[in-house]
């Protein structure tokens, strides 16, 4: 009973924090000059409810835009995961492949994924392919780096034990190397997914005709701050859901090893 009331108290205080921010926001909009530029929280909430059933732009509701962005992210991210995991593991396990691909990868690695946007547009036009490419680059780098680190840190003793017990190279690879890489791969995929989500926004903001990033830029072009805020909130919610989903997947798939935090 005491526990429950304590928890309720904590919850109330947490809500107090968020409530304070919203109230300050509302008061600032109402009583200062910021109100000329920023919408009030109520307007944003009202508009959000409105665009759930009405369209932003010509065709899609807010969910439609989110789905378009999500589709782009999923395709780019899936390709990036496959390529990143293969390259990361083979670079980590085979010295020769590392010697060949590492230097080229090290040149590509530090380039911020957003910086690829202009080049992608020149290469692929402003269609879907450019977006897939940008998202691919954003995810690929993170996933490869992490997988590579994981493949380097496979416990040689365990690997030796597997060989001693008569495992073939293939068996050792699938039973020892891959399972011990999986936590690292997941760490990379988590970071990768959130970078992909950021990259798709940037790509859509620079050039697109639909998608959640587009709702923000079109809001900017029309001077419609409420729409910008609706977009930001939708992005934040989806980003949060993605992070939660990845963490849950990790828990299910990597039961044998808990990664710190």
């Amino acid at each position: 009973m005491k526990n429950l009331s304590k928890r309720l108290g904590t919850l109330a205080l947490s809500l107090l924090g968020i409530g304070a921010v919203i109230i300050i926001w509302a008061l600032a909009v109402r009583y200062t000059r910021i109100g000329l530029l920023l919408p009030s929280p109520w307007e944003v909430v009202k508009r959000f409810a409105y665009v759930c059933s009405h369209t932003i732009g010509k065709k899609y509701t807010v969910f439609g835009h989110l789905l378009i962005s999500l589709k782009r992210v999923l395709i780019g991210f899936a390709a990036a995961s496959v390529a990143g995991i293969i390259l990361g593991i083979s670079m980590g396990r085979f010295k020769m492949i590392e010697a060949i691909f590492r230097p080229i990868f090290e040149i590509v690695r530090p380039i911020p994924s957003v910086a690829w946007i202009p080049l992608a547009i020149v290469w692929f036009g402003i269609g879907e392919n450019a977006k897939f490419y940008i998202i691919f680059m954003a995810g690929f780098v993170n996933i490869t780096v992490n997988t590579f680190a994981g493949a380097k840190q496979v416990d040689e003793n365990v690997l030796g034990a597997a060989y001693m017990l008569g495992a073939s190279k293939l068996q050792a690879f699938f039973r020892v190397v891959i399972p011990s890489c999986v936590p690292y791969i997941f760490a990379g995929m988590q970071v990768g997914l959130s970078t992909c989500w950021m990259a798709v926004l940037a790509a859509e903001m620079v050039s697109s005709t639909a998608g959640i990033g587009w709702t923000i830029t079109s809001g900017q072009e029309n001077g419609d701050m409420v729409q910008i805020f609706v977009g930001i909130i939708a992005i934040a919610v989806v980003g949060l859901l993605m992070a939660v989903l990845m963490r849950w997947l990790e828990k299910v798939l990597c039961q044998w090893r808990e990664r710190g935090s």
Partner: protein, 268 residues
């Protein structure tokens, strides 16, 4: 016998290094062959490496076509990034520590940051433009946002991960709360805090490039966006490679700092 083993290991390493060198050369060679000799791609979409190099050299001194040399763009980007970043670190790290150390601050402030965390700073660019224009201030505030959140989160979890045994030992020896914080909690959180600084650097650099792509009159991001508008991919590639190079230099500097300030293990 041991020396012989070492010798072969050294030979191996040398061999791999040679292969690495060859692979870069082959890569550039293929690029050169495909563009300059065979002309598989039109030069506006993929220029030859020679052209890129030439552009790099001329951009060092010439201001055409977008009105600033490479050095000026570089300084403009760096100035903005540095202002926002330093502000973000100075506010974010202490706030994170405070949140972890005082329960009240934690309960009240934490949910606000849980709420702000998933918002990508890029999404805030239009808001910043409307509020502050396309000035340096707008970009600095944007960078501040993308810095402050990883800083807070990492120093928060760094302090939270302090081993309670260490704190108990300190308590047994009569350390005050303050002493516990400064001699135990903060040093043991240092690796986490540094990891946060690194993440913040990466995300703020990305936000800066995005901001410069969308609206600016100077900076490396602006340079590549002009390159796109004029279909000068040599300019874009020079810009991208410079951005990458700066990234390498910055992460090298971080390695140095980390060696100086962080004792014990490095947080991945």
């Amino acid at each position: 016998m041991d020396e012989k083993l070492q010798n072969t290991a050294r030979k191996r390493r040398l061999q791999y290094r040679l292969i690495s060198l060859c692979s870069i050369l082959v890569f550039i060679g293929i690029w050169y062959l495909a563009t300059a000799v065979l002309q598989l791609a039109p030069s506006y979409s993929l220029p030859s490496p020679v052209k890129v190099f030439q552009t790099f050299i001329t951009k060092l001194t010439k201001t055409a076509p977008e009105g600033a040399t490479l050095g000026q763009h570089f300084l403009a980007s760096l100035q903005v990034a540095f202002t926002g970043y330093v502000l973000g670190v100075v506010i974010g790290v202490p706030l994170g520590i405070l949140m972890a150390w005082h329960k009240w601050v934690d309960i009240i402030v934490r949910p606000v940051f849980d709420f702000l965390k998933p918002i990508p700073p890029i999404a805030l660019i239009p808001v910043m433009i409307v509020l502050l224009g396309i000035t340096i201030k707008a970009k600095a505030v944007l960078i501040f946002f993308s810095t402050v959140i990883p800083c807070i989160l990492n120093s928060y979890s760094g302090i939270k991960q302090t081993k309670s045994i260490h704190l108990w030992v300190a308590q047994t020896f009569g350390a005050s709360r303050r002493q516990q914080l400064f001699t135990i909690a903060i040093p043991s959180a240092m690796p986490m805090i540094f990891a946060g600084l690194r993440v913040a650097m990466g995300s703020s650099w990305m936000a800066l490039v995005a901001a410069e792509l969308l609206a600016s009159t100077k900076g490396l991001g602006y340079m590549i966006s002009v390159g796109r508008a004029l279909l000068r991919s040599d300019l874009i590639i020079v810009g991208i490679l410079c951005l990458g190079l700066i990234g390498i230099v910055i992460s090298f500097l971080f390695d140095l700092l980390e060696k100086l300030f962080v004792r014990g293990g490095k947080e991945r």
